[in-house]
């Protein structure tokens, strides 16, 4: 489903440097993999390239046969909107929207109006937050916010879920819950997932673990 070939990316600025070198990676439907690596090694950059939020210096990123690097920004955005879901370390719920509105956002962006409320309710129930639909993010704990973010990432049934340090801001107990929930949700959705993390504990919840190094991405440790 996702094929990455010979991906290279470097940044300019005062500390100009190559971040990704010759990265190759394949992901099939139903796969739920973890990518680990040192801080600053380029894990988030890799996610941004996969999501089409940034463009590589060279190499290709193909999602279901569509070469992302050949698309313009609007087309990449459209692809991201319909086929991807995101979970961030800092949750990033919109503070002025209720929990239900936050979850419904991808459906609205994809203009899916049929059964929208039912789907949102279903997702909130799945993340065990059915009673928090009308609450605002500031009224929730960190773990609850991240569960809302997971519901938002999966509500439109994306093919690919990208999770960037989803437990970085959570206590261990909440982290375990969220990781279990994320895996369960991705699998239930029949999509694929990439979990970027520092935590070996978190990585252990994935089907397989890849380590990103200065020389590229390689399987296992």
């Amino acid at each position: 489903m996702l094929i990455i070939r010979n991906l290279n990316k470097s940044y300019g600025g005062t500390r100009g440097r190559a971040v990704l070198r010759s990265v190759d990676f394949d992901l099939a439907s139903g796969d739920y993999v973890a990518i680990v690596g040192e801080s600053g090694i380029g894990k988030s950059t890799l996610l941004n390239l996969v999501a089409g939020l940034d463009l590589p210096d060279s190499g290709s990123v193909t999602l279901d046969g569509v070469e992302l690097t050949q698309l313009d920004d609007d087309a990449r955005t459209g692809l991201r909107r319909s086929r991807m879901g995101f979970v961030f370390q800092a949750f990033h719920l919109l503070p002025h929207l209720t929990v239900a509105q936050n979850v419904a956002l991808p459906l609205a962006l994809n203009e899916q109006s049929a059964d929208r409320e039912a789907r949102v309710a279903e997702m909130l129930a799945a993340v065990r937050l059915a009673d928090a639909a009308s609450a605002y993010p500031r009224e929730l704990s960190g773990g609850e916010m991240q569960r809302v973010a997971i519901a938002r990432a999966l509500v439109h049934q994306p093919q690919l879920v990208l999770a960037d340090e989803p437990t970085g801001n959570l206590d261990p107990e909440s982290a375990v819950q969220v990781l279990a929930l994320l895996r369960e949700a991705v699998k239930a959705n029949a999509g694929a997932g990439i979990l970027v993390t520092h935590s070996l504990l978190a990585a252990a919840t994935a089907d397989r673990v890849h380590r990103l190094t200065v020389n590229g991405l390689r399987l296992g440790d």
Binding site: M84, Q89, A90
Partner: protein, 838 residues
């Protein structure tokens, strides 16, 4: 490496200011514009006024007392009687006359003086002439001031063509005064020649008196008063100078106040900037509190930040104001449009105290603007402030409505207060209080209005509305910038529009004839004799001719003269001739003859219909009955209309200054004008069709109010700065949100559309409130400020087209500004913003 205090200051202020240089610069620019406008208006006004006072002082010279009469003059027999009084050391008689110049649009002030007396009392008038002085004793010779010689392009030996009646006379320029002698346009000539030349035989209109040492000027003035004929008054040179300055005071004060409003909007801009900036920096500031910084230190640093912003803005404003004033004086002279100081050559008068006051005002408003949010930031519990999404909670006190209502109510009360020292001080206070009240009420109004906005189906619109509703109080801060600036613009537009409409209607009423003829283009020396009037009336094609004689009379020594108009008017139906306000007063048998007084005269001298008014005419006080009050926008020191027959009977003066002519149905203006010019071949007649007079009057009106248009543009610009600052700060604070939305699949265009919608809604609210507020403020401007300043009434007339254009332009500009301010949301950086802690 920074450490200690510098690190603290950097962490608190400089770091933030320098990272947000654009917004900081905009806020400083807001203060700078307000201060610059104030400084420029003040400098130009004070330069013109100083020059005006200097000119008055130069004319008074070493006199202790100035005896002033009507412009038409008083019997010269007063001079020897006065000069022989034991307290008088020297007296200098004068005929001060505004002379029509043939073939030129301008007039020239000519002083007929007794050269030997003037050399004692007004040496400046003859300075540097030496032996040329004697040449002035010859017939038909004048000495020109340097300014007059330069403007007229004349030098020694050249001929100056003046018009007296309908005759053009040649005067020889015998000398040009050195530049330092008298700085304004002026000519001096021997009074013995001036009197017959200008048809003023046996009359003077001014005597300057120097008293013997030890004589008290006030006591002498009191002793002199009963010896003076009616309408002639003795005043000190200081009062003479002040009287001249008095009639410009209201205009000058109004301009200062308008500049003050600009400063207020600048203040509001700083307030909005600081407020939003501190909202954005709440978590950072809270962290500093967590690290051990006291509330006091935090608040002091943040207010100091406002002071730095104010100091930079004020310094730039003073410099800019100085530059604008210097350019204005160089290219436009000391007149700001109303014509009070037209032709006055003025130079900048540096006043350190005034400039310091403006500088400090700018700093004060900036500090005040910073103080409110600084105190709030210092008060907030750090633990709460560290949480995201707490901003609206921090603004909860903005929900209070009673302070806003209280200020607005106090403003409404002030609007009904009488003038203070003849200035509408309470009127201005009312406007300031109502504006402040409206600003305080803005959050609740915004909140209420946003609840009424329907939620759209489109994601961008739905998100925009959700965002606005959730941050209603922050939105109110941005909207208030538009409310303040737009209401000011609307108020000015309604006031000027109403005035213009009233002025146009007044012109229609006051100019009923087909065309008008003046013996000269200006000045006091053009007139038609009775025989010439008969010739004019007999011009082929002229169906009807009426004549008017214009004079000045002094009703009070400390006020400028009032214009006396003697004209053909039917006392039974005066409303046919004059635009009367209210019903005319019917005269009873035995009542003195009627006088119709202008609104200005009625206000200044407390005149009411039915009241008796003594007018000094031909050396005697003549009783009249106030038969009505009429609207007059032409004469700002007041005007009186009496029947021409009565005037001629009392004074023997049968001359006419102007003629109003109606044409036969088949006659043409061109033919009549041609016949007139043929009749008065030597004269430089001013012949104008009624539409030309109206157009020329409206041109003068527009020139007078040009300065207000500039102020309106400045206000709108400041308002747009406010929008930009508000949205810029919001956009920066929302970068993570934009980043998330980009991750979720919103295109840049959709985010731009969302910002555009937010901008449109906010500016729409600002414009709607601004319209309502501006309308209220315009009522105070029209019925309180204008009435108390200039004493004439104006009918409210809404310039809907102008208002609609202003509203649309402001909304488009605001939306564009909002989108431009949020352009950061379109960049790739927002993608990385999701990784930022703050």
């Amino acid at each position: 490496m920074l450490s200690g205090k510098p690190l603290l200051i950097y962490a608190l202020s400089l770091g933030s200011l320098s990272h947000n240089l654009g917004r900081t610069a905009l806020a400083a620019l807001g203060v700078a514009l307000g201060v610059a406008l104030g400084v420029a208006v003040h400098l130009v006004n004070s330069a013109a006024l100083s020059e005006f006072r200097h000119a008055v002082a130069a004319l008074a010279g070493e006199a202790d007392i100035v005896v002033r009469g009507p412009r038409a003059g008083f019997d010269e027999a007063l001079y020897p009687r006065l000069a022989r009084l034991p307290e008088v050391a020297a007296a200098s008689p004068m005929l001060d006359i505004d002379v029509a110049l043939a073939g030129r649009e301008t007039t020239l002030r000519v002083l007929g003086i007794d050269i030997f007396r003037a050399s004692q009392l007004q040496p400046a008038l003859l300075a540097g002439l030496n032996e040329s002085v004697l040449e002035l004793l010859q017939a038909d010779t004048v000495a020109l001031s340097d300014a007059a010689a330069r403007e007229l392009g004349l030098g020694r030996g050249n001929r100056l063509k003046v018009q007296v009646g309908t005759r053009v006379l040649d005067l020889e320029v015998a000398a040009v005064l050195p530049p330092h002698a008298y700085r304004q346009r002026l000519a001096v000539m021997d009074i013995g020649w001036a009197q017959p030349l200008f048809a003023r035989i046996g009359t003077l209109n001014r005597i300057d008196v120097r008293l013997k040492p030890g004589v008290d000027a006030e006591r002498f003035r009191a002793k002199l008063a009963p010896l003076l004929p009616p309408g002639v008054h003795a005043v000190t040179p200081e009062i003479e100078a002040e009287r001249g300055a008095l009639w410009t005071r209201a205009y000058r004060t109004n301009l200062d106040m308008l500049a003050g409003v600009a400063l207020f909007t600048g203040f509001f801009l700083v307030f909005a900037t600081q407020f939003l900036a501190l909202m954005r920096r709440r978590a950072q500031l809270a962290l500093l509190r967590v690290l051990g910084m006291t509330r006091r230190t935090l608040a002091v640093h943040l207010v100091a930040e406002g002071a730095v912003l104010g100091a930079v803005g004020s310094a730039a404003g003073v410099a800019l104001g100085w530059l604008v004033a210097a350019l204005t004086l160089r290219h436009l002279g000391g007149d700001l449009g109303a014509g009070y100081f037209r032709g006055v050559e003025a130079q900048l008068v540096p006043s350190v105290s005034a400039l310091a006051a403006y500088f400090l005002s700018g700093m004060a408003v900036a500090m005040l603007g910073a103080a409110v949010p600084a105190i709030e930031a210092a008060r907030r519990a750090p633990a709460l402030a560290l949480r995201a999404g707490d901003e609206e909670t921090a603004l909860k006190h903005m929900r209070l409505v009673w302070p806003g209502f209280a200020l607005a109510a106090l403003g409404a009360v002030c609007a009904f207060a009488p003038p203070l020292n003849e200035l509408p001080a309470f009127g201005y206070a009312a406007i300031a209080l109502i504006l402040a009240g409206a600003v305080l009420l803005a959050p609740r109004l915004v909140e209420f209005s946003l609840a009424l906005v329907p939620v759209a189906r489109a994601v961008a619109a739905a998100l925009a509305v959700a965002q606005l509703r959730a941050t209603a109080r922050l939105v109110a801060v941005s909207a208030a910038a538009i409310v303040v600036s737009f209401s000011f613009t609307v108020a000015m537009a309604i006031m000027v529009g109403s005035f213009r409409t009233s002025f146009e209607e007044w012109l229609e009423r006051i100019l009923p004839a087909d065309f008008y003829v003046r013996a000269a283009r200006g000045g006091e020396t053009g007139f038609f004799t009775p025989e010439e009037q008969a010739r004019i009336a007999a011009i082929p094609g002229v169906a009807r001719a009426t004549f008017l004689r214009s004079q000045n009379v002094l009703l009070a020594p400390d006020r400028p003269p009032v214009v006396l108009l003697a004209r053909d008017i039917d006392r039974a139906t005066p409303a046919r001739t004059l635009p009367l306000i209210g019903a005319p007063h019917a005269l009873a048998n035995g009542d003195p003859p009627p006088v119709w007084v202008s609104e200005v005269a009625a206000d200044l001298y407390g005149l009411k219909p039915g009241q008796r008014l003594d007018i000094p005419l031909a050396g005697a006080l003549r009783a009249f009955t106030v038969a009505g009050i009429w609207r007059d926008y032409a004469r700002q020191t007041g005007a009186l209309v009496i029947e021409r027959g009565i005037y001629a009977g009392l004074t023997g003066d049968r001359l006419a200054s102007d003629a109003a002519l109606w044409l036969d149905k088949e006659a043409t203006l061109e033919a009549a004008a041609h016949a007139l010019r043929a009749q008065f071949a030597s004269a430089d007649l001013d012949i104008a069709a009624v539409h030309e007079v109206r157009e020329s009057s409206l041109r003068i009106f527009d020139r007078t109010f040009a300065v207000t248009y500039v102020l309106e543009v400045v206000a709108i610009l400041i308002g747009l700065f406010g929008v930009s600052v508000g949205f810029g700060a919001q956009a920066l604070a929302r970068r993570r949100e934009f980043g998330v939305l980009r991750h979720l699949g919103m295109t840049r265009r959709e985010i731009a559309a969302m910002l555009g919608i937010e901008g449109s809604v906010v500016s729409g609210l600002g414009v709607a409130f601004g319209l309502a507020l501006g309308w209220g403020v315009s009522l105070i401007l029209i019925h309180v400020v204008n009435r108390q300043s200039f004493h004439w009434s104006i009918d409210l007339s809404m310039p809907w087209l102008v208002l609609a254009a202003l509203a649309i332009a402001t909304m488009i500009a605001s939306s564009a500004t909002a989108m431009w301010s949020g352009r950061a949301a379109m960049g790739t950086d927002v993608v990385r913003a999701v990784k930022e802690d703050w």
